[in-house]
């Protein structure tokens, strides 16, 4: 078990790190095609990454340790999450520690680090981005934890592998109203956490409409490369988490090599499909006004709450 499990964890981290830019490239390509453009090709984010690593890092005068460490912490949290979440196999050495609440908290930690970096520069845009990001995060937390609650009721634990294993063995949980409501709520939350439309526009050039971008305006070269990689990894992991929770088919519950390999292939396919769907949907959406975002999040909160109550009163207790 351990050899295969350890290999699986390592492979998860490597695959997420290597695949995150490709996922972004795929999503940009889908968007480009739907806009009638040719698109830069799926490998473009990797080219950007390579170039940024070669460029000159800049630490402006008047910034402090927070500015320097935030990119590292962002990528580190994403990597730890990639190791914890059972994307391909539930039988890993870390599966005992793979607690859903810990995953949520680690995501928030990365965001907080970046917000502090934004404030650390002392520029108006940095502060603006940090303030908006923290507002969104504060409103997102309740939805996430209620969704966690709803998911952990049938499994009787917040341990991710246990939840997912339970859903694999009892697919009825997937189609139950609670499961579907939780799925929608988590999907909305994922959009907010990863700064996608309609909450934030990842490709905006206008500072006043920025949330995530505004915090990283000062980063250059390798630092910027890390920030972008971190954001892409977060998106990949969250999509992977959604896939594992609501389409768990194929995830290896045993430690057989063949099952794990198959699981990795399926994982790549699922995440690619989810990403393509998201990119296609984004073509139809416009960014919400900042003060309409709470409405969206209140809605997702309501869905999460309904998920919890539904799992109480529809299925009885």
């Amino acid at each position: 078990m351990n050899a295969v499990g350890t290999a699986a964890v390592a492979a998860q981290v490597v695959l997420v790190t290597a695949g995150a830019p490709l996922l972004t490239g795929l999503m940009r390509q889908v968007r480009a095609r739907m806009e009638g453009r040719a698109g830069a090709g799926i490998g473009q984010p990797w080219r950007d990454f390579r170039k940024l690593l070669r460029k000159e890092p800049i630490t402006p005068v008047g910034t402090g340790p927070a500015f320097r460490t935030a990119p590292l912490l962002l990528v580190a949290t994403a990597a730890v999450i990639a190791a914890l979440v059972p994307l391909a196999s539930t039988a890993t050495p870390v599966s005992r520690n793979a607690d859903l609440i810990v995953v949520v908290a680690l995501l928030a930690l990365g965001t907080v680090a970046l917000a502090l970096a934004g404030l650390d520069t002392g520029t108006a845009f940095g502060g603006m981005g940090a303030s908006r990001e923290m507002t969104v995060i504060a409103l997102v937390e309740p939805t996430i934890l209620l969704a966690v609650f709803a998911l952990s009721i049938p499994a009787g634990t917040t341990n991710l592998p246990a939840i997912i294993a339970g859903r694999i063995h009892d697919p009825a949980r997937l189609a139950s109203p609670a499961g579907l409501l939780a799925a929608v709520a988590l999907a909305v939350v994922t959009l907010a956490e990863t700064g996608r439309l309609p909450v934030d526009n990842p490709s905006t050039h206008l500072e006043l409409t920025m949330i995530h971008e505004a915090m990283i305006l000062e980063y250059a070269g390798p630092d910027l490369a890390l920030v972008e990689l971190g954001a892409q990894m977060r998106l990949t992991v969250l999509l992977g988490l959604l896939a594992s929770l609501f389409a768990p088919w194929g995830i290896a519950t045993s430690a057989s090599v063949a099952a794990v390999v198959l699981a990795f292939v399926l994982f790549a396919v699922k995440v690619a499909l989810l990403g393509a769907a998201l990119a296609a949907a984004e073509v139809f959406w416009a960014k919400l006004r900042l003060f309409r975002v709470p409405e969206l999040l209140a809605g997702s909160f309501l869905l999460a709450l309904l998920a919890v109550t539904a799992s109480y009163f529809l299925t009885g207790e």
């Binding site: 480009a32 095609r33 739907m34 806009e35 009638g36 453009r37 040719a38 698109g39 830069a40 090709g41 473009q44 080219r47 950007d48 390579r50 170039k51 070669r54 460029k55 000159e56 890092p57 800049i58 905006t204 050039h205 206008l206 500072e207 920025m210 971008e213 305006l217 000062e218 980063y219 250059a220 070269g221 910027l224 073509v283 139809f284």
Partner: protein, 160 residues
């Protein structure tokens, strides 16, 4: 639904890529390896060039397919796309912007005004052409230059 139908009917708008320009790229562009982030600076232009740049990144010419992308901050940028004669008020901001870009960086002067002040030569508010303020690596003549020309210049930098 209607939008989806429109997307299906329109299909691909981008024209086929013309042959790659043969000029050899400036030395700084060697390291970029097919990825160029562009920061556009209007140093006092009449916005004719802006319109052309806009269409250069639009669906028809689609400069993005060659690895060029517009970004919001000079810290993220490799290329400063400067248009217009440099007015007295924009000279210092232009210097600062270029200085804020990390090495390796290039400056591309777009339009006759950027090369030799064009119509505005000798104007009381005009400091001079871009080359007088910051070192220029590439020049795109024309008043305004056609989008193909701008795309071609960017392709020289990206090497794609």
């Amino acid at each position: 639904m209607s939008l989806l139908r429109k997307i299906r009917d329109t299909g691909r708008v981008a024209e086929d890529a013309p042959p790659r320009p043969t000029e050899n790229p400036p030395p700084a562009a060697q390291e970029l390896g097919g990825s160029v982030q562009v920061r556009h600076i209007d140093a006092g232009s009449c916005n004719g060039c802006e319109i052309e740049i806009g269409s250069a990144f639009g669906p028809v010419y689609d400069a993005e397919r060659y690895g060029a992308r517009l970004v919001a901050s000079p810290r993220h940028a490799d290329v400063a796309l400067v248009t217009g004669p440099v007015t007295r008020n924009m000279a210092e901001p232009l210097r600062r912007t270029v200085a804020a870009m990390p090495q390796p960086r290039l400056v591309v002067a777009v339009g006759d005004c950027a090369l030799n002040c064009g119509e505005f030569a000798g104007g009381y508010g005009v400091e001079g052409p871009v080359a007088d303020v910051v070192p220029v690596d590439l020049q795109v003549p024309g008043c305004p230059p056609r989008p193909e020309a701008i795309v071609a210049a960017l392709r020289i930098v990206t090497g794609r």
